[in-house]
């Protein structure tokens, strides 16, 4: 009998249906991947089997775990199950730990609660568990608080809490989505190891097909609360019988068409020159009397870009790539070095003097929700950079230009009177792009522009970027930690590590044959669907 058996599970919150007749089963020691885009109901499935749903949720159907009927189980019985037989790992490590309790207390708490062990015994097993997840006592004593740990380390603590009592089933809900690729690989390797050693079943929830393929023996594809397809990972993804599965797989590997690559024959003057740029931040003071230590976010970075060129700046989170981007956009001033745009230095210019440069240099951000003032209409949002023109357009001209920009990004004219919350994430990113191109800039800096989007939407937005590059000849500086994005859309890539650029070159060349350690790490860690399917095929025949 399967460890977990979900039959005809339907769930609604208030009157909104979330899940419709979901079937799913996991055997002991088996890893099941649950894949779907945002809103597909993946997380709600996990919360249902933990019985941690919001109060307004109503579930029908059958969920049987280890012979126990979960939907009918009283709260006390669920408390005995949670943390003991089912452990759960969450998406956001930065907020998943109680900030006022030490990591030792938080790991030991569940152990004491479930086993009735003494404080000393519970602490001893907490210490062993933290050691197993890669937080050895010597460097990470039990008395550490969460704020003293990095995101990856915190996720290790969360995993230690979930696995402390060797549960029969581990539920991991997007456990690596908030981490960069290198950390993602480390955490996935850790999970794989723990699951194998303790013979745990694993329900791995992810939007990333490559991650799931890499980890799971079987896969369930969820869409709008319904199971689209279920089966062994390799055959399912190789055959792609279900159209939605095919759509997902294709979107994950999508490379936009860009027939004429400007970079190849772009000659003449540089559009942008970054010359030995340094940015220091004041660090924390060690004591009252010693001066604050400086933290060097960007360390003597130099590079140049030609007009129309598409360049990727890749690196792990915290490597200084966003700081560099802000300095290029003149939103932050370098501590040292020079940034020249079309031959003119920007670093010492006043806001008024920067106006003509800003017109030619725009930005697209990562978060399609946070990048708009929620109280402004799309017209007003998209028109904002028109402020940079020497001659302010009349209201009619303004509307015309906004309509044109919206048309270019695939939105319709009536959209300009709506508010941002009326659009989906992908549409918002289109609005963001419309805002960036309305002044016909020569350079657009895009800071992780597709990493918050679902794969199918991501493919469409990448296509849009490629198309605009072809049509308008705009140069891109793409900041990303996702190598598939870099590969899809850029000609050149720069790898950044600890504030320095450690490798540059043609995108294919660098990604296929990385030279520096930092680049090798990134390439090795990047999930690759084709590679993952090939490996699974070998394993599963």
């Amino acid at each position: 009998m399967a460890l977990l058996e979900i039959e005809k599970l339907s769930l609604s919150i208030g009157r909104v249906p979330i899940l419709k007749a979901v079937d799913l089963s996991i055997g002991a020691g088996e890893t099941m991947g649950l894949v779907g885009e945002s809103g597909s109901g993946k997380s709600m499935t996990a919360l249902t089997l933990m019985q941690l749903l919001p109060a307004a949720a109503k579930a029908t159907g059958r969920v049987t775990f280890d012979g126990i009927d979960i939907l009918a189980a009283p709260e006390a019985a669920m408390c005995r199950l949670r943390g003991n037989d089912i452990g759960m790992v969450f998406q956001e490590p930065m907020t998943a730990l109680n900030p006022v309790k030490t990591i030792g207390e938080q790991v030991a708490e569940g152990i004491r609660w479930h086993t009735g062990a003494s404080r000393a015994d519970a602490e001893a097993s907490a210490r062993r568990m933290l050691d197993r997840v890669g937080l050895p006592e010597a460097k990470f004593p039990l008395t550490r608080y969460p704020h003293q740990l990095s995101g990856g380390q915190r996720q290790r603590v969360v995993i230690a809490i979930a696995c402390a009592l060797k549960p029969k089933l581990l539920v991991a809900d997007e456990p690596t989505t908030a981490l960069d690729v290198v950390l993602q690989k480390q955490i996935l390797d850790l999970l794989r190891g723990l699951v194998a050693e303790d013979r745990m079943g694993l329900l791995l929830i992810s939007h990333d097909l490559a991650v799931v393929t890499d980890m799971a023996e079987r896969i369930t594809v969820l869409r709008h609360g319904e199971v689209m397809e279920e089966g062994e990972t390799a055959p399912t993804l190789a055959a792609q019988v279900h159209p939605y599965t095919r759509q997902l797989a294709e979107a994950s590997m999508h490379v936009p068409a860009r027939p004429n690559r400007h970079a190849a024959h772009a000659a003449g003057d540089n559009l942008l020159e970054v010359d030995a740029v340094v940015r220091d931040y004041p660090g924390r003071r060690r004591s009252l009397f010693s001066p604050a230590e400086k933290f060097r976010a960007v360390d003597h970075v130099s590079f140049s870009m030609k007009p129309g060129q598409s360049v990727a700046l890749v690196g792990r989170s915290g490597c200084g790539k966003s700081t560099l981007a802000r300095m290029i956009l003149a939103l932050d001033r370098p501590t040292g070095g020079d940034i020249r745009f079309r031959g003119t230095s920007l670093t010492a210019k006043s806001e008024a003097e920067l106006k003509p440069f800003r017109r030619n240099m725009q930005v697209v951000f990562q978060d399609p929700y946070g990048s708009f003032n929620p109280r402004h209409t799309v017209e007003r949002l998209v028109a904002e950079p028109l402020h940079l023109l020497d001659r302010q357009p009349s209201p009619a001209e303004r509307r015309e230009r906004v309509a044109e920009a919206l048309h270019e990004v695939g939105l319709r004219q009536p959209d300009m009177d709506k508010y941002p919350h009326e659009f989906s994430g992908g549409q918002r990113q289109r609005i963001s792009i419309a805002r960036a191109i309305i002044t016909r800039p020569k350079l657009v800096v895009a800071d992780e522009p597709v990493s918050a989007l679902d794969v199918s939407i991501r493919a469409q937005v990448l296509d849009l970027f490629a198309e605009l590059n072809q049509k308008l000849g705009v140069a891109y500086l793409f900041i990303t930690h996702d190598l598939t994005v870099a590969r899809a859309i850029t000609d050149e890539v720069m790898v950044m590590h600890d504030g320095r650029i450690v490798e540059t070159g043609r995108t294919d060349a660098v990604l296929d044959d990385p030279q520096s350690d930092a680049a090798k790490d990134l390439v090795a860690a990047a999930p690759d669907l084709k590679r993952a399917i090939r490996r699974r095929m070998v394993e599963q025949g």
Binding site: M50, E75, G83, F90, L97, P99, G110, L288
Partner: protein
């Protein structure tokens, strides 16, 4: 932690110094010559001049400020002319009424509010929550001096359980003293308890929505355990903030409440001193109250640091 304390203390000290300048300057612009007021309208000019000299009013501003501050630091608060006794004695005599009153009220308010807040948060959306929070909503709207009048009517006039006002002095014994302060303390405390219980409840509910609460629940901790062990400590930060503010409010609230109950406390002292233009007394009492508010805020900051380890490491 040391750096954190040092920073708080120095900020508090600077605030106190600036406050002393403000108090001094404000009272300087007070209309009416104290010497003239003290001697009455038909005093001779010479008599007024002599008194001014005695009081040091003929000295330049800066000198007077310096000598006042110097006095405060050495425990010499000056001498009241209307009471003909040292200000410090006057303050000490009155503080034994006001301070216990404020402290009893603060203790009452905390002792009522935090359990009520926990109770309501644990029963969120249920009838018990609605009823307690409805009562708290009304409690917040009740002016404490009106509540005091009602208490006097019910317990002193009607039931005749307690005296309607006055203070027998601690010489008469601890119990009669406390009995006289009980009703004023309740009048001060209940409206504050209503505010604090609402803050406690909403802080708890906010914390209960955090990710780490879900982590604790996923560990198998029952709701009640999570509320006490995980939520309460995190919710203490806004509660402490309000407690700090309430202390200042209660101190000032004693001014009015002491008037309602005819209690010989600091509030009544400052009130009378203002009407009699006995500046030195006003200055002394105000500085004392300001200093105690600053001190309480430092204590609150230290409590923050005890509750939240993040504050301990970045001063």
């Amino acid at each position: 932690m040391i750096a954190f304390l040092a920073k708080r203390l120095s900020v508090g000290l600077v605030t106190l110094i600036v406050a002393s300048v403000v108090v001094f300057a404000v009272l300087e612009v007070l209309p009416g010559d104290p010497a003239q007021l003290m001697l009455g309208m038909n005093a001779t000019d010479e008599a007024v001049a002599t008194l001014r000299e005695q009081m040091g009013l003929d000295q330049p501003l800066l000198v007077r400020y310096a000598s006042w501050i110097g006095g405060l630091l050495t425990g010499d608060f000056g001498r009241s002319f209307t009471y003909s006794s040292p200000v410090l004695d006057l303050i000490a005599e009155r503080a034994v009424v006001s301070l216990p009153l404020a402290l009893i009220a603060l203790a009452m308010s905390t002792a009522i509010a935090i359990p009520v807040g926990l109770f309501a948060a644990a029963r969120r959306g249920k009838a018990a929550d609605t009823v307690t929070m409805g009562a708290a909503q009304i409690g917040v709207a009740v002016p404490n001096f009106w509540f005091a009048l009602i208490l006097i009517y019910v317990f002193a006039v009607w039931l005749r359980l307690v005296p309607s006002g006055g203070f027998p002095g601690w010489e008469a014994g601890v119990w009669p003293g406390i009995k006289a302060l009980l009703m004023p303390a309740v009048a001060l405390a209940l409206p504050q308890a209503a505010i604090l219980s609402r803050v406690t409840r909403s802080a708890l509910l906010e914390v209960l929505g955090e990710d780490y609460i879900r982590t604790a629940r996923a560990k198998g901790m029952p709701r009640r355990h999570v509320l006490w062990r995980h939520a309460l400590r995190n919710a203490m930060i806004p509660v402490l903030t309000i407690l700090g503010l309430q202390f200042a409010f209660l101190l000032a609230g004693t001014i009015i409440i002491e008037n309602v109950f005819y209690l010989p406390g600091l509030g009544r002292l400052v009130f009378q001193a203002i009407t009699q233009r006995d500046l030195i007394v006003v200055e002394g009492v105000v500085m004392l109250l300001v200093a105690s508010v600053i001190l309480v805020n430092i204590v609150v900051d230290i409590c923050y640091a005890l509750v939240d380890p993040r504050l301990r490491s970045n001063a």
